[in-house]
């Protein structure tokens, strides 16, 4: 990745917290546009987090299946996008 492109990308990513430095830092949508954080949203909320023991088995099993399906979908999308020739 050319240095100029990485720098531009980094600046874009950081523009939101720079603009909002006077207030409390908030969650993902404040830094990145929603579509850019989907993979992190899926990974954090479906794959991580405190699990309580009480009566959760059915709900979590459902979530596990969805996580697997979404992971497969994101992986497929990543490969399709990655296989496309880059335009200069």
């Amino acid at each position: 990745v050319p240095r100029s492109r990485a720098l531009t990308r980094a600046k874009v990513r950081l523009s939101a917290p720079e603009a909002s430095r006077r207030r409390q830092p908030r969650l993902a949508e404040d830094i990145l546009p929603p579509e850019a954080t989907l993979v992190d949203l899926v990974d954090n909320l479906l794959n991580k987090g405190v699990i309580l023991n009480a009566e959760l088995i059915l709900a979590l099993a459902d979530v596990d299946l969805v996580y697997l399906r979404l992971s497969a979908l994101l992986a497929a999308a990543d490969r399709v996008v990655g296989a496309r020739p880059r335009r200069r």
Partner: protein, 215 residues
């Protein structure tokens, strides 16, 4: 509607009047001087992207109100609130340790495109074994890109976690960053990535999902 949907465990009740993903005001269930942040609910939500985003917004509101929280996994619905209280009493010491470890901090996640993965796509000579070794090294923080970025972030981050992404050919570096250092951390991290020519995608601040060890 006797059940509750659990958003996380906190050291104090929610300071602001925050509404949950079902549109009801959040409340707290207390036990062992800890508070489970919950919303009355009849069932677990369907796991859709819209619901995931809604839950992230609720957590954002809780974190923005200044509270530390050990976030629950999506889908944490409990039929009887008394079971939540029992869980707080039983696992109180572990939850308190977890809250101490993340106090005043948020999680920033950096996805780093793996050179090994890119090389594999371009070069048919690269073996699967070499690729997997590259992934394993990356997961252990041995990848040069990870080392460079970790050095940049370590001055401000309290903890670091490195994961090989199971989905895309990339590594994810999670840093637990004190809020007061957040802007300086982001500047240092972006500067290091640009200087090294590393392609990264930052996201956050998140609640400390990647730093929930014993909880």
């Amino acid at each position: 509607m006797a059940g509750v949907y659990v958003y996380g465990i906190a050291g104090r009740p929610p300071a602001a009047a925050v509404k949950g993903i079902f549109g009801r005001r959040l409340r707290a269930i207390e036990g062992a001087r800890l508070f489970a942040i919950v919303e009355p609910a009849a069932r677990a939500p369907k796991p859709t992207v819209a619901r995931l985003r809604a839950q992230a917004r609720v957590l954002a509101a809780l974190v923005a109100a200044g509270g530390d929280i050990l976030p629950s996994r999506f889908g944490t619905f409990v039929r009887r609130p008394a079971d939540v209280k029992a869980e707080l009493l039983e696992r109180g010491p572990a939850f308190r340790r977890g809250l101490r470890a993340v106090r005043g901090c948020v999680q920033i996640s950096a996805r780093i495109a793996l050179p090994g993965g890119q090389a594999r796509a371009r070069s048919p000579q690269t073996t699967g074994t070499a690729f997997l070794r590259s992934r394993a090294a990356a997961a252990g923080g041995e990848h040069p890109a990870v080392r460079a970025l970790d050095r940049a972030g370590r001055a401000f981050a309290k903890q670091t976690r490195v994961e090989a992404d199971r989905v895309a050919p990339s590594i994810v570096v999670h840093h637990l960053v004190p809020r007061r250092y957040l802007r300086r951390y982001l500047e240092a991290f972006a500067h290091a990535a640009a200087r090294k020519g590393i392609s990264i995608t930052l996201s956050g601040p998140w609640p400390p999902f990647a730093f929930l060890d014993a909880e």
